[in-house]
């Protein structure tokens, strides 16, 4: 309900939060320019912080507060003195120009690449050093990480591998049958799984399961200042935490990839058996199409994938921020980077193997 202007600028006796809300709601123009010249405060007895905020807001915009009682004036003075000397500039972040922003972004990108390279170097250095001095290697951490990231991952990797082989065989058997070529399903599944798919699906699973776990674990340690404590004690986090985990990942992934491939072949054979082919026919198919070279190449790749995925996971954990959201961010980037890296490495290997005539 609009209020006549003459009495509208007389403040009520109590100016607490509900009163302010109500009083301002009935005068929608009050908080916008043009502001009134003065406000009659003579009735005012009690204010809370919302009331003081209203008075400060209006006084800051040139409104005279007439007849302000001493008690309220004193409270107002305390607040204004506390705020004195602090301009709005202090709370508003300074905007930077385009060139500055671009330069900063470039510098930060280069610095990040440099840091990543340094991390890789340090990781390889400590791993190499522990080959010569096994005392440097944390066997306990390695075993725990291998058990959690390798042994405990066997069921899910086996299941996904089996389903992959099953689906691959079944989906290719249908069109191949139109050409009477369903006998070649075994060769198709074998080549696909052994050369590429068994490894890729395992690498992605390990990224999501183990790489993210490393990132979350190290990220939490970072938030709890455990990483700082290690550094203060003169222990390198890379040697102490990263090397055993990356070693576990590097050795677990080949085993898992091999297992996934075997389960996939089992799935493929399952479909072949339904189509009426014997096991010996399936094995003949496999040996005819899949060479030992394919197996060795894939096995060699899997070490690199295992290294990359777990090193990225640890790196994301180590570079995590310190607030509550940091661990979540670190885990997300570990998974995303791990999967991207898997794809990039897969492409690189394809080119290299092609050049080598493999």
């Amino acid at each position: 309900m609009p209020v006549p202007e003459a009495q509208s600028l007389r403040l009520p006796e109590t100016l607490d939060r509900p009163a302010v809300t109500d009083w301002v709601a009935r005068r929608p123009a009050l908080l916008r320019a043009p502001f009134p010249k003065s406000l009659d405060c003579s009735a005012l007895k009690r204010v809370d912080s919302a009331g003081l905020a209203l008075l400060i807001f209006l006084r800051g915009r040139g409104v005279a507060l007439d007849g302000l009682p001493d008690g309220v004036a004193a409270s107002l003075r305390v607040c204004e003195e506390a705020a004195a000397g602090v301009g709005d500039a202090a709370s508003a972040p300074r905007r930077e120009g385009f060139v500055t922003a671009l330069g900063r972004a470039l510098c930060e990108t280069f610095a990040a690449w440099g840091d990543a390279l340094a991390y890789l170097g340090e990781l390889l250095w400590w791993w190499g050093a522990s080959l010569f001095r096994p005392r440097l290697f944390r066997w306990g951490d390695f075993c725990v990480a291998f058990y959690r990231g390798g042994v405990q991952a066997l069921p899910v990797v086996g299941l996904i591998g089996f389903l992959l082989g099953l689906i691959l065989a079944f989906q290719s058997a249908m069109p191949l049958r139109m050409f009477g070529a369903e006998g070649f399903v075994g060769g198709l599944v074998g080549i696909a799984l052994v050369r590429e798919l068994g490894l890729i699906i395992t690498a992605i699973l390990v990224t999501g399961r183990t790489g993210s776990a490393f990132a979350a674990e190290l990220g939490t340690m970072k938030v709890n200042e455990e990483i700082d404590a290690l550094e203060t004690m003169g222990l390198r986090p890379v040697r102490f935490l990263v090397v055993p985990r990356v070693a576990a990942g590097t050795f677990a992934l080949p085993v898992l990839a091999l297992f996934a491939t075997l389960c996939g072949l089992l799935g493929g054979w399952f479909v072949m058996a339904i189509l009426g082919f014997t096991l010996s026919y399936f094995v003949d198919q496999l040996t005819a199409f899949v060479g030992i070279g394919d197996l060795i190449g894939s096995f060699a790749k899997s070490f690199v994938f295992g290294f990359a995925v777990s090193a990225v996971g640890c790196r994301c954990g180590l570079t995590a921020g310190r607030d509550a959201g940091a661990v979540g961010t670190a885990t997300t980037s570990a998974v995303v980077l791990g999967i991207v890296l898997t794809a990039v490495l897969e492409g690189l290997f394809a080119v290299v193997f092609f050049a080598m005539g493999w």
């Binding site: 607490d16 939060r17 302010v20 809300t21 301002v24 709601a25 908080l31 809370d48 912080s49 919302a50 003081l52 905020a53 209203l54 400060i56 807001f57 409270s75 305390v78 607040c79 506390a82 705020a83 602090v86 202090a90 709370s91 508003a92 972040p93 921020g321 310190r322 607030d323 509550a324 959201g325």
Partner: protein, 254 residues
């Protein structure tokens, strides 16, 4: 003899059995806190001071007895009544418990945005007023992770004060702070209490703070399953009939 205290009773604990689950830490806590008082709750480590605080703010229900906040049983209050009761007090947790993804200013603005219908400019002005009051206006746009321990606690007080509570609960305000910062925090608490007539309940055993600002201290002890002694700091130090309390205040082993 002193005249009887006629101020309103803000918090009243009657035969409270405190603890988690079914095993009480203490089974018979009785105390009353009146409007405008600054009361310290003391006791040895692990005696259940923080647990009692959690009972008082309704976060963990006590095992037995009743806790009345302004005459309302906080454990029994439900729905709107409980929400209204929660608006009566503000809490500062030991570590500050600021939300890490919000700036200091946004932390203080949050309760104002969620619980009031104030227009946006006045919400901002209120938040700035509290930040100025705790001396953090220059840090308003910083993130909590970039603040020092003392600043975090002051920011947490500003957030707790945003809705003008009648009671302020503080869990170990001086812990981990240097004596000067701790003393500054004490004078902030004192001025808030004196200027606004606010009731302040502090869990702490910083002797310096107790002597500087406490109106009363309540000493909890498991040997008596509740309040061993209560009174002004000077009285507890010099005249308490309990050796343990005198030893505590005189910084002497038993």
């Amino acid at each position: 003899m002193e005249p009887p205290d006629t101020r309103d009773i803000m918090i009243s604990c009657r035969h409270v059995a405190s603890g988690y689950g079914s095993k009480p830490l203490m089974s018979d806590i009785n105390l009353e806190i009146r409007r405008g008082e600054i009361v310290f709750i003391l006791g040895g480590s692990g005696c259940g001071k923080s647990t009692l605080l959690r009972h008082m703010i309704g976060q963990v229900p006590q095992i037995g007895g009743t806790i009345l906040i302004k005459g309302v049983d906080i454990a029994a209050a439900r729905g709107a009544e409980r929400d209204a009761l929660r608006r009566v007090f503000g809490v500062m947790y030991q570590s500050g418990a600021l939300f890490g993804n919000l700036s200091v200013l946004d932390n203080v603005l949050l309760p104002l945005e969620e619980f009031t219908d104030l227009p946006a400019p006045l919400r901002l002005e209120t938040a700035r007023l509290w930040l100025a009051r705790v001396g953090l206006l220059p840090q308003a746009s910083m993130m909590p992770a970039d603040l020092s321990g003392g600043m975090k606690k002051r920011a947490a007080i500003a957030r707790a004060m945003a809705l003008d509570p009648e009671i302020l609960f503080l869990d170990e305000p001086g812990a981990g702070l240097d004596p000067v910062t701790s003393a500054r925090l004490d004078s902030l608490i004192l001025s808030l209490s004196r200027d606004l007539g606010m009731t302040v309940v502090i869990i702490s055993h910083e002797l310096a703070s107790i002597e500087a600002i406490a109106d009363r201290a309540v000493y909890l002890d498991r040997s008596v399953n509740g309040v061993l002694d209560a009174g002004t700091p000077a009285w507890l130090r010099d005249e308490s009939p309990h050796a343990a309390v005198r030893a505590f205040f005189n910084r002497r082993p038993d």
